[in-house]
Every structure is written in C-alpha cells, then in structure tokens.
Amino acid sequence: MATPAPLRILEGHARVYRRTWRGSVFSAFVSPILYLLAMGVALGSVVDASMTGGVEGLPYLVFLAPGLLAASAMQTGAGEGSYPVMAGIKWLKTYQAALATPVSSADIMLGILGWATVRVTMVCVVFAAVMVAFGAASPGGALLSVGPAVLTGVAMAAPVMAWTARLEKETGLANLFRFVVVPMFLFSGTFFPVSQLPDWIEWLAWITPLWHGVDLARAAALPEVTTTFPPWVSTVFLIALTVIGTVAALRTFKRRLVT
C-alpha cells in the first residue's frame, strides 16, 4: 500500500524532530509554567486584589490560561510555518532535493502543514496539562480548549507558509514576528478583554485568528464563559483562514520551487 506523499514528507520531519525532541518538550513545559507563574499567579494576585477583583468576574489565572493556550498555538504555528520553510527553500535547499524525487511542491507544502499541526497539537496538550496542574481549568475544560487552540495554530501556519515562500530574504521573517505575531500576541484578548480598547483596535482584533481562537478556547475551558459571537462564526473564520492560507501556499510554493 503506497503512503501518500505528504505523509512521507511529514514522516521525514518527524524523523528530524527525533533528534531535538528533548529540548523541545522541555521548552513546551517550561514556557507555560513560566507564563502562568509570572502572569497568572504573580500579576494575577495584584489584579485579583484590585477593586474590580479579577477580570470579567474570573480570577486572573483562570481568565488568562485558555488565552495563553491559544496564543502558544498561534506562535508555534507561525514558527513552524516560517523558519523551517525558509531553511527548506533557501538555507539547506532540502525542498530541492525532495523535488528531484516523485514528490511534488504541493506534497511538500501539505506535508509541512501536517507536521505543523502535529507540533501545535503537542504544544497544546502539554499546555493543557500545565493548566490543570495550576488549577486554572478542569481536566475536561482544558481538554476541550485544545481543539480551538490547535485550529488557531493551523490557521496561522498556513498563511505564514504562503508568505514565507515568497520571501527572498530572511528579514521578512523578522518583520513578520515584529509586526504581526507579537502585536497579535499582545492585543488579541489573551491578557485583557479587547472591549477595553478603542473600537478600531477591537475591530482590528476581530480579523486576527488569535482573537477568535482565544474567544473559543476560553469558552471551551470555562463553562461560565460564553463566546462573543456564536461559536460557529469564529470556527468558520479559522477554517476559512486555513483554507485560504493553504491555497495561497500551494501557489507560492509552486511558483518558488518549480521554475
């Protein structure tokens, strides 16, 4: 039985990952622990002691944790869709090597997106476990919030791949993180409700994948929270972004690699 080519590309990435998984798993645990300690527990004690007492009626740690889960997924998706793609196209030229085999540029693109999905899922599962350990969510709630978080990561990875495949120079990647990933991380409702911001920033937040991911993940983790829009709106938004990003990436990969 033949293995579909994108899965063989994914398998290759998994094999590469086997060499580095220890460091990667370590940081997958360390990063949420540090964030939840510093922001959730330490900053949270200040927030919770303030006059309003928590955010939207929730202890700050509880408010923060599902948002950070989605934000970690978004960052992982952006990471997997950018630097490794640049390496494959330009630095190591391993995509050129793969293209000399029966594999096509579409197989490569889909395989990498598949691998990004695996990586995002790993990060989210670890994050959810840490959330439970901190008492920020129930095991069931944490598990439920993994779904929208993974979708957020994939909805980020696909358009980032499309963008990266167009770049001649790596400075474009630094700009991507400086002007897109970091602002999105800070202003998409992870750390505070965007309703506190001027309207135009709120509207801006509504077109980011992370805002929708945070909104869905928070409602999934906490039974007392409901989504801003009906859940299907944000779900369709994230799926649409994934599909559009994938179609665009299939095109940019082909244009870049098949000349």
Binding site: T3, R8, A98, L99, A100, S104
Partner: protein, 307 residues
C-alpha cells in the same frame, strides 16, 4: 530500443532571458553523455528539464519515452539526481539523509536500510554512517549525494557539475565511483566545465555555449574534427607577444593568441618548436602537448572554458 532521452528544439526561457535555445540531442541506454560548456551555457537548465523539475518552455522533450510535463513523478521515480549544490540536511546523520530520501520514493523501510549499507560502502563512507553531515568535507558530501541519488536504483543518473569545487584528490575519488557505475552499465548524464572530466567520463558529449549546442561527438572524434593532433604553447614576455605573433605567421595550421600565451595547432609539435627557434624567436616557456577538448572549445567559441 527507443532512446532514453530525446530533445527536439528544446528551449527554456526565464522572462526575457533564454537559458536554453533550441537544442537537439539523443541519449541512449548505457552511455555516459556529457554537456560540456562554461558557466551560464545552459547546462543546468537542460538538466533540470530532463530531471522533470523545470517545465519546458518550447520544443519537445521525452524522457523514458514520455513527456515530463505529463508524467513528471513517474520519470523522477526512475532518475538519480546529483544537483550542483549540495542539498543535504546537514543537521541529520548520513543514514538519516538517505533514509528520508528513500522514503520520498516510497521505498519500504527494510529495503532502504539494506541499501544504505551497500551505498555507504560503495561511496566509502560506511564508517561515518551515524555521524552528522555537517562536518563532512566537500568531497564526502558529494559522495554522500551520489549515494543518495542511487537509493531508488535509478535507470538514469543526472550529475550536474559533480566535482566542481572539489580539490584534485576528492575529484579523483568521485570520478572513480562514477567510473565504476559506468562499468556496471549505468546511463549517466554529466554536465561539466572541466574538459578533463568530460574526457575521462563521457562516451559522447555535446559542447554548449550561450544556450546553444555548438558541436557533438565522442571526445576523440571532436578533437580529430576540430583540432590538430598536437598543440605547442608558447609564452613570451608580456610586451613581446604581438611582435612574436607577426613572426609566427604561417608556421602552424592555426594560431590562437590568448592573453598570456600563444597556441600553435600542428600535427608535429617538435618540428614546429624547431621552426620557432629557426625564426629567431625565444619564448620564455615552450610546452608541447596533445590537443584536448579545451582546444576544441576554444576553436568553436573563441573563448576558454574556465575564465
């Protein structure tokens, strides 16, 4: 048997730039076929079209009798490609590189493992099997790339400048392996801008210059057709060469003046050298040698292969 590769009026353009301009060639099973020419002659573009990774702009190309535009994947499944630039994953070990590449051909893990043993021994890298690729020398990386290209037991190998950038000893190691492949009956397509490489490895070759094929034949027949048997190279003090050229007039079948030396194409080198001295000329250095493909190239294009 139909030819393995057949090109008619094959053309490749990138925007306004014509990289390959209406070339014709046929490559038969079992031969080592060369594309000799300087950098930028269109060799790599031709290789990439044969390798079914670069679309043909105009003309027809058949590889294994089929059209790369239609059956690219099935053609690539039967090819072994050694690209000009190394495309190894330097963070992985030698065997991991071969394994991942083998999986791209959808070979079963067991088959790949067995071939890794054979191939790493063949390219004399068996003892480096579990080492990372990163610290390998240029010659070792080249040999590993050759091993990688053999993982699917290709019917046709495409080698794009297989020894460019290697030191002489590393080049000979690569040539030795390619020579063995040839003896085992492999069909090789080799591009090179080294005439010695073309002479050593190729049964038949085409000479490319400025996107076109300017001659075709075996190394020996090309030399016989376009050159004399021997060449005398004369060096004069820098300012004296022009004056010397006047005195040399008519001395050989053909006289070629390069910036640093004068070439006399003659059937009897020793006799020509004697006549040079009889005409009262005293070159600072005199070398008599056999004609090479480099001389053929100079004759055909008016410039040298390696600038």
């Amino acid at each position: 048997m139909p030819p393995l590769v057949e090109a008619h009026d094959l053309t490749k353009r990138f925007g306004d730039f014509t990289a390959v301009d209406g070339v014709e060639f046929t490559i038969e099973t079992g031969e080592a076929f060369g594309f000799l020419g300087p950098n930028g002659a269109g060799k790599t573009s031709t290789m990439r079209m044969i390798g079914a990774v670069s679309p043909v702009t105009e003309g027809t190309l058949r590889v294994f009798g089929v059209d790369p535009a239609v059956e690219g994947a099935s053609i690539r499944a039967r090819l072994g490609v050694v690209p000009q630039e190394d495309t190894l994953d330097t963070e992985l070990t030698l065997e991991e590189n071969l394994y991942i590449y083998g999986r791209y051909f959808d070979l079963p893990a067991k088959v790949i493992r067995q071939r890794i043993d054979e191939l790493l021994s063949f390219v004399q890298l068996a003892e480096r099997r579990t080492d990372k690729v990163e610290p390998l020398s240029g010659g070792m990386k080249r040999r590993l790339t050759i091993a990688r290209s053999l993982i699917n037991q290709p019917e046709l190998m495409i080698l794009d400048e297989p020894t460019t950038g290697l030191d002489p000893q590393a080049r000979h190691l690569v040539w030795d392996r390619l020579y063995r492949l040839k003896q085992q009956g492999a069909t090789l397509i080799i591009t090179t801008h080294y005439m010695d490489e073309a002479e050593q490895l190729c049964d038949r070759l085409v000479v490319m210059d400025k996107a076109k094929i300017v001659a075709e034949g075996s190394p020996r027949s090309l030399i016989e057709e376009y050159c004399t048997r021997e060449v005398v190279e004369l060096r004069f003090p820098p300012d004296n060469q022009d004056r010397a050229l006047e005195s040399l007039d008519g001395l050989a079948k053909r006289i070629e003046a390069l910036p640093d030396r004068v070439l006399l194409y003659t059937d009897d080198g020793d006799a020509s050298v004697t006549e040079v001295h009889e005409r009262g000329l005293h070159p600072t250095a005199t070398v008599t040698r056999r004609s090479t493909l480099e001389d053929v190239f100079l004759r055909l294009t008016g410039h040298t292969l390696v600038d």
